[in-house]
Symmetry: none
Subunit: 211 residues, 4 copies
DNA sequence: CATGAATGAGGGTTCATTCAT
DNA sequence: AATGAATGAACCCTCATTCAT
């Protein structure tokens, strides 16, 4: 229990965490490649080098991995966006530039978007899953809504619709574009999203509060 | 094929066509409700009132029904856009109004959107299907791009991006929103789409070339 | 459709019935040997020479075969007993003799009794199964109750308890004895059952209705 | 194992015994409720508040718990009968009354009966278990046979069959009735058993040998 | 053309058991 | 002694598809 040998410590918990991590990784790869429905637990376990039982020792069901994956992804995305908008002193142009950089990364995220679509479809069809999914989704929607609101505030303008609705619309746009451009290169998604964002801002009235 | 008995002549071919049509209809309903992967051929045949064998007498595989649906999709979309496109001399406000009407129908067209998403998802995973799907999609994209271009031209403004790209983006937005709001009432999709469209117009520079 | 070739006719329905019959037979053998819980559908299908799918083409579930089996057995048993009691003119001694003969066959029926016990256990634990089981069981209980009533009537005596209850008690005795004597030879079950029946008759008061 | 610290001395052994006892108790509850086959070791361990490993530290297999339960069964039955047997000089009415009391407890003893049935069922399929079970059963049968013999002797009558066989038959009747009336209220088992007993006595000839 | 019984592969899930900790 | 992650086999069931009728 004290530390003397530097290697092979924490075996029990460590190896458990490792198994879990490997299963999650493998699941993500396969979900992205073959879709949620096209991926069997056998596939995941086999490719990760474990038995099917190992999967069930770590997750109650296929849905659970999916939710874990989703949560992680959405939180990461939220954090990423918050970082851009939270820095108070930024000039509008700077914010735009950073958003542009972020939007560019979306191009590499098309796989994730595909999964998101499959997830939504699954949620629309499985009531039990829908509840859990809704929680994750609402949290994400709220976070993004906050980011959108902050952006308009920073620009001294009134959003042309409820910020959360706008955020959801941007998610919809992003996912829809990902669906279209699977495999198409170069993917104009990131650029288009900013075009729409600029449009929204251009059409927004000046905020009544003097900046 | 030659005519001798005056009654019930086309019976065989007709009834075959009817079988086929019923199977296609049923398949679409089920694909929308349960997804492509969640729909079995037994489901389709049973609900349509036929045997599984009848299905295979009309289609080589589940994918083939999807192709037939794609064909229907294509025709429906073509007809829809023709209405907007055919009105050559329309004033900008009129075009805008027609787009608004079109956007409003989207609310009631969620089924078609879902079907479209299923089609795209499947195309992303089946190379043989992808080719055929791409052709339909490109045609539709082109047509819709024409409408967008015409709108901006009529307004005397320069589109902030390739009209076809903008058209595709609107399709993406529409589909993405439909996915989000399956079952949610009231569905803000139509309104949001117009908010985005207005934004785009607001951010468009005045066209330099009068033409 | 008319009969000319003596062999291989009725192929479709016949072969279907054959498959069903073979599966039922095999299921019975295995249920008796390994118990209901110890018999898998794989086992049944494999041993009958079919695929698992073939099983599901003929039965909705393992429970369904069980019920079919049970029904057939109970009906046969009821018919057997009715035959003994229905012949009006028999003298009491003759009835007894025939019952003795019948009881002797019970010895060879121990396997069936075992299954019956497992069935009851299963019914006590599966509400969905319980309903269907209850119907079969009640019918059998009613039939046997009728036989018991008739026997006492023929002897001009009043049964010491509700005939249906007595019938159920005899079923219980039979099953309980079968449970005990699995494998023990010679099995005294049949003889003991008659000993109890004679006791019941001996303790029964004379019926008030003069015969 | 040697004593030095006065407190918590037997702690280890004691706690092990406690673990074992708790597992046995839990197992019995679950066997009765869900059956032997319907109870998993995980169920037992979980519900008892231990790990699966703890189970295997105490028992080599699921069957071994069953053996332990059998031992308990044996002791309980032995004690039960001792009460009846020990009263040597009792009058027939008294014995009869005691049997009546015993029969009445059976109504509330359905759990034991179910357990007994599970034991017998398992014995019928596991040769290794059967041997041990047979010993317990034979002892019990002998003891109960003694009671039956004594009853008839006290009544000055000849039993209509080997007392041990009659005893076994009563056990069979009891178990069979318990199986039928699991959950059914009111349970006529106790009453029915006495009806049968009275019948047996009624049909018994007067003992020729005074002895 | 239409039937639907039968196939064979694969789906998600559970279980008794093992073993490094 | 006790843990519980991991195993591997088995379980019930569903599916797209075939083929004799």
């Amino acid at each position: 229990m004290n530390e003397s040998t530097p290697r092979k410590r924490l075996s029990r918990e460590e190896s458990q965490a490792q198994t879990r991590a490997r299963l999650i990784d493998t699941a993500q790869q396969l979900f992205v490649t073959n879709g949620y429905g096209g991926t069997s637990i056998r596939d995941i376990a086999d490719r990760a080098g474990y038995s099917q039982g190992a999967f069930y020792s770590n997750f109650a069901s296929k849905e659970e991995v999916l939710l874990e994956l989703l949560r992680g992804h959405m939180e990461a995305e939220g954090a990423q966006l918050s970082k851009i908008l939270d820095s108070e002193g930024h000039a509008p142009e700077q914010i735009f530039e950073e958003l542009q950089t972020w939007a560019a990364t979306l191009n590499h995220d098309a796989d994730w978007c595909m999964m998101s679509i499959e997830l939504q479809l699954h949620a629309n069809r499985s009531p039990t899953f829908a509840t859990k999914y809704q929680a994750v989704w609402d949290a994400h929607r709220g976070r993004l809504g906050g980011v959108v609101g902050k952006l308009f505030a920073a620009l001294g303008r009134t959003p042309p619709a409820d910020p959360e609705e706008l955020a959801a619309a941007f998610m919809a746009l992003t996912h829809g574009l990902a669906l279209q451009s699977m495999g198409a290169r170069p993917d104009p998604s990131g650029r288009l999203i900013l075009v729409f964002l600029r449009g929204l801002i251009a059409s927004a009235g000046l905020a009544s509060v003097t900046r």
